[in-house]
Symmetry: C2
């Protein structure tokens, strides 16, 4: 069996360029006991992959998760036809040992299998654990989430509403703002690109969250980070799951956030960095996933997304994460 | 009774100037029931007072804690001769109601009463709660503390050693570095003023903490903040008690810390801002203070400090906090 793979040709410098990557074809080996052959159904593109490239070598397959169908099996736990997720990278086919596979649970009818990479996968669970475990959200509190129209942010806002909270989101276009308010039920939303400076940003938060912010779900980084801290309440929590504004920076010491000492100490704030993976690994019974599936069945969660079609569009899909053109989860369906 | 008081004449802009403050004399009122008259023994000067001035008005007495002796009393709980601490500000005498006083416990012989403002007061307890509660320090871990020769840092290092940990400190002169290593038992110490750039700072930390840093006791802020995060271990904790590098800044959005998203998320780090006061208030039985007094009795804690003598030197003592001339706790004894 042949497989097509996206490989790194050259480490990214600043903004990733199409000349940094390429597609090659390889022949897959025969199966050994315990292994299966998978055919990719959809590939997840995510901002974190930008960071992983920093530790990759030229020739490495682009890192990432996919949902796939087992097409040949020497592992009784994963028979032909089973749906799995795995970190096989950007590849159309692969031979994978059973211990690198996660079985996709039976979905309700009409729920697309791609959700295993989004709402019912890494990004949805990142929102779930970040808001409810890291952020320790309590009923009646106020949440602010940036990159609110993204794969994680769209879920954060909906979960906050399910938990009886007020939620404010920021996004990069008027269309996104409208979508957040009319389709996803955000209480407030604003287009950060129309905000001219940090004092105006602070006034905007003050106006939209007059009782202050209790939980800040942070995906972005940059100057605004400090402005949000200044609007937080005593004992506020920051669930820090990303900092997309800095991922393409070539110098990690380029100043981009002002000192946070004053609001942190005076208000006893806590910032916790986390990944959905780390929390999923601790959640032995998959309680998070079970609760999310229940909400999907009850029609309580929407799952906007943008599907790029065709394996050759993986890199284009990846670049779209940094231009902010999409609402919800970005996938490549094969 | 007359009292001398330091008052704010003009809000500080950038570095505090002596023309921003002045001394005035007032007449104290007669005591009402429940009140006492106190005579100041020593005044604490601390970096946090720089922040409090931002909320003060011209004419306000400079904010701060003092240890004092009761010289007249209409409160049976605080008889004449009792030692108390109170936030009466920079004043030689004051009339204070009983509910604004804290009794100083009986000290072991030879222990100076000024420790009620330092090792056995706010700064010592800030080190105690920050390292042991906020930082959740465990035996065998590695601690890095900056401003290590300061009132809080000198205690942090000693407590870390008492808890069987490795401790690395940074300070602003070779004399301080020598003092930390030879007198206070720090495992490693370095003079940050001799470090030419951030890559060298990182290499220094890597060399001195080859197993990585588990707890970062942060007093400073600035660019180095990010460099330390990069040397921290998975699940590391930052106890953020101050950011002296930014206190005299006139623009809170002057960038001074680079984005922290990458190390925070990838390593699941946690930053908790705190004050010693907030934790003292939670510690209803004063367990922290009792443990600290026990260690002093057992001769396990040293208490370096610099006493400015005379009420007229309060502002000079305060300015010395920002020039880094002193080791340990800075007090003004009256």
């Amino acid at each position: 069996m042949k497989a097509k793979q996206w490989v790194l040709k050259k480490q990214f410098q600043g903004n990733p360029k199409s000349s940094d990557v390429g597609i090659k074809e390889i022949s897959l080996p025969n199966l050994k006991d315990g292994e299966v052959m998978i055919e990719c159904l959809a590939i997840s593109v995510d901002p974190y992959q930008r960071l992983f490239v920093k530790n990759a070598k030229p020739g490495d397959v682009m890192y990432g998760e996919q949902v796939a169908k087992v097409i040949e099996s020497k592992n009784a736990d994963y028979p032909v036809g089973a749906h799995v997720t795995t970190f096989a990278g950007w590849t159309t086919h692969a031979v994978v040992p059973g211990d690198k596979l996660v079985k996709v649970p039976e979905y309700p009818p009409d729920v697309p299998i791609g959700l295993a990479l989004g709402l019912l996968g890494m990004t949805g669970l990142t929102a779930y654990y970040g808001l409810l475990k890291v952020g320790e959200l309590k009923e009646g509190e106020t949440v602010y989430v940036n990159a609110a129209a993204g794969a994680v942010g769209t879920v954060v806002g909906q979960l906050a509403k399910l938990k009886g909270c007020k939620v404010i989101g920021s996004a990069g276009s008027d269309d996104k703002v409208k979508y957040l308010k009319t389709e996803l039920g955000f209480d407030e939303a604003f287009n950060y690109k129309t905000i001219p400076d940090m004092p105006t940003f602070e006034q905007t938060l003050k106006r939209l969250a007059p009782k202050g912010i209790d939980v800040f779900f942070e995906n972005v980084g940059g100057l605004a980070f400090r402005a949000v801290l200044d609007q937080m309440n005593v004992d506020g929590r920051v669930a820090l799951c990303g900092a997309i504004s800095s991922y393409n920076s070539t110098d990690k010491f380029t100043p981009s956030i002002p000192s946070i000492g004053e609001p942190m100490t005076m208000k006893g704030l806590r910032i916790t960095g986390f990944t959905g993976w780390a929390y999923s690994a601790k959640d032995k019974n998959n309680d998070g996933l079970k609760e999310m599936i229940k909400w999907v069945q009850e029609d309580k969660l929407k799952y906007p997304g943008h599907n790029f079609k065709g394996f050759e569009n993986c890199f284009k899909a990846f670049l779209s994460l940094f231009t902010g053109d999409n609402i919800g989860k970005v996938l490549v369906t094969i």
